[in-house]
Amino acid sequence: MTAEIRTSDGELLSIKLKKVERRRRTTAFLLAAPLLFFIVFTYVIPIFQMLGRSIDNVQMNEFLSETHEVMQTWDGSEMPGEDVTSTFYYELKTAVENKYHGKIATRLNYEKGGFTSLIKKTSRKLENFDENGNFLEQFIDVHKKWGDIEYWLAMKRGTDAYHFRKYLTTFDFEQKFDGSIERIEEKKRINVTLWLRTIFVAVGVTFCCFILAYPISHLLSVLPTRYSNLLMICVLLPFWTSLLVRTSSWMVLLQKQGVLNDTLVSLGIVADESRLELMYNMTGTFIAMTQILLPFMVLPLYSVMKTISPSLMRAATSMGATPFHAFRKIYFPLTYPGISAGSILVFVLAIGYYITPALVGGAKGILISNRIAYHMQQSLDWSLATAMATVLLIAVLVVYWLYNKIVGIDNMRLG
């Protein structure tokens, strides 16, 4: 027997409650709206565009759309027929007239090396073609590479509107023209090494930050305010200095003729001819990143430790626990939210770190983000860059997901 509950003015309670709630929700939404729109336009949409770019080849598909279409009927077991070569000839001609054949050359070169010179040379000779003759033979006359079926296979594949091959490249795999997936030749493998190094550095830096931050955070949380403020400023001081300046000062400190090596040599700990290699390798990346990311570990730890009443430790010792036992069983478990929040923060920042490894890392100390920057700025293979960035993004999301599974995102305390 469920009687309908009504408010004093006769409305159904459940409906009335919803009305009142709705107004509250609208207000809340309006407060959040500006930031929401800002984030959608400057963050969410660009990210999806980036994700799209890693598989998007639509422009190339449009440049050679007819060739691509005709090629669908070609099985690739022997050299393409005249239908393919003639279509390609006319489309290339249009491309030369409209001056986008350079883009075609670059794009096809990603599929198979040698395409740049091939297309450029062919474009120059295009006007000499006899439009009534055999196109394949004329192509081969211009450049003998046209006689290699792989170039035609590469063109077929390279004009697909969408493909996932950049993700294979991200992990040092390639798709052969027969469709099989294999690792690329050993001397070209670099990405997997970089991924592993990135994860190793991120985990290592997180651990070093934890080891360094835990005692200092504890000290900060128990000191009287006037001392702890001063100490806190020392911890946060790096925040107020430009990242570039900080990294450069690490270069001054760590280089072979730098302050640290000079001191060690003058103290006689290290011989002059065997000065330590502290920079342009992993050591440099490690030291500088740990220092720079340290505050991100200290702050969450401090904010959690501040809330732990000192009487808990006293209570534990009064019950007979040694200080170490009390720390292990009481204090340490209570700092888990801070440890996990600090760790995830440092790990996520470290896994995508760019400036510091670029400046002090050298060839042996660069990370995956430096490789992404390389593809964005030097090789201009944006598809590969965005594919790598997407993998990085997914890796971070997986870390968050695991964190939520194991610790619960509600337990995170950032300050």
């Binding site: 009487s311 006293r314 009064s318 019950m319 007979g320 036992h325 209570l334």
Partner: protein, 362 residues
Amino acid sequence: MNSKKSDFVKFEQVDKSYDGKELVVKGLDLDIAEGEFLTLLGPSGSGKTTTLMMLAGFETPTNGEIYFDGLPINNIPPHKRGIGMVFQNYALFPHLSVYENLAFPLKVRKVDKSEIEERINKTLKMVSLTGFENRMPAQLSGGQQQRVAVARALVFDPKLVLMDEPLGALDKNLRESMQYELKHIHESLGVTVVYVTHDQGEALTMSNRIAVFNDGKVQQLSGPNELYETPVNSFVASFIGENNTFTGTVKEIASGSAKIETDSGETIVANPIAVSSSGEKSRISLRPERVSIDPNEQLENKFTSEIREIIYHGDHTRVRVNLLGNDDFILKVPNASSDLKLNVGDKLDLGWSSHDCRALDY
């Protein structure tokens, strides 16, 4: 049980200073008997909590020695003292369930599992929290958390339990019922309890003896009765219970009574407690309930006052009058005497015996 020690805990000339400039505890001598419920009572900053912390081992005496069961304990760290403690904010471990909280001191002592369970059940039953084993501290009300804290301090059978204002955070009704409960637990276990509070009502209800602290010193150490009825100095008189005071000079002193001329020129006959010669300045203390209204019997002190304010308090009415120049003289009139018609501005005859009116230090 064999004979109980009267100096189960002994403070011997204990001084404590935090900053090297001021003594928080000054030359404390205090004996606590086995099985006793002793309360350290005093205003904040009087040194009572410091005293407790020194006994628990969280503070080291600057001078002097503390003995526990005959052994000096200055150099014994807190975890080896075997003293149970209940903290002001309960200090329950928030990440452990009630059961795990109670098991903590037992596990540290490597008690085996079945006995842990048995002891926890017994202790939870004592504080009437059976069935709450798996709750987390945050899921308990303030009073329940309080009981868990008490249970945890008792579960490992310490010979001495310290309590640092354990009821301070509870509301009034709960505090009163917890007072009785703690008293009953103490009586049934026979454990020695040292209890710190600034609430005199709490101290009077529960304690065998009360040590009143002020200014780093014990002002008076006695049972609740004597403390209230026969305070030895004006601090104790004013700190415990309500108190009317007059200041004056001793005129004549002889065989258990003193004539004192108040600052307003009247003469009061009083009981000389802390005065010994004429000419001394004295503060006279008189409990409100010892003053009779419209006295017909033979009393040494009889004066007329003027009513200034009437405050209704339910079970009694407080009447503020002006008497002998004291504008804050309080009377407690029980509600039974409702036939008494009181109006602001009326004259009221008052009287009291010289015995109840104590001449203390100035």
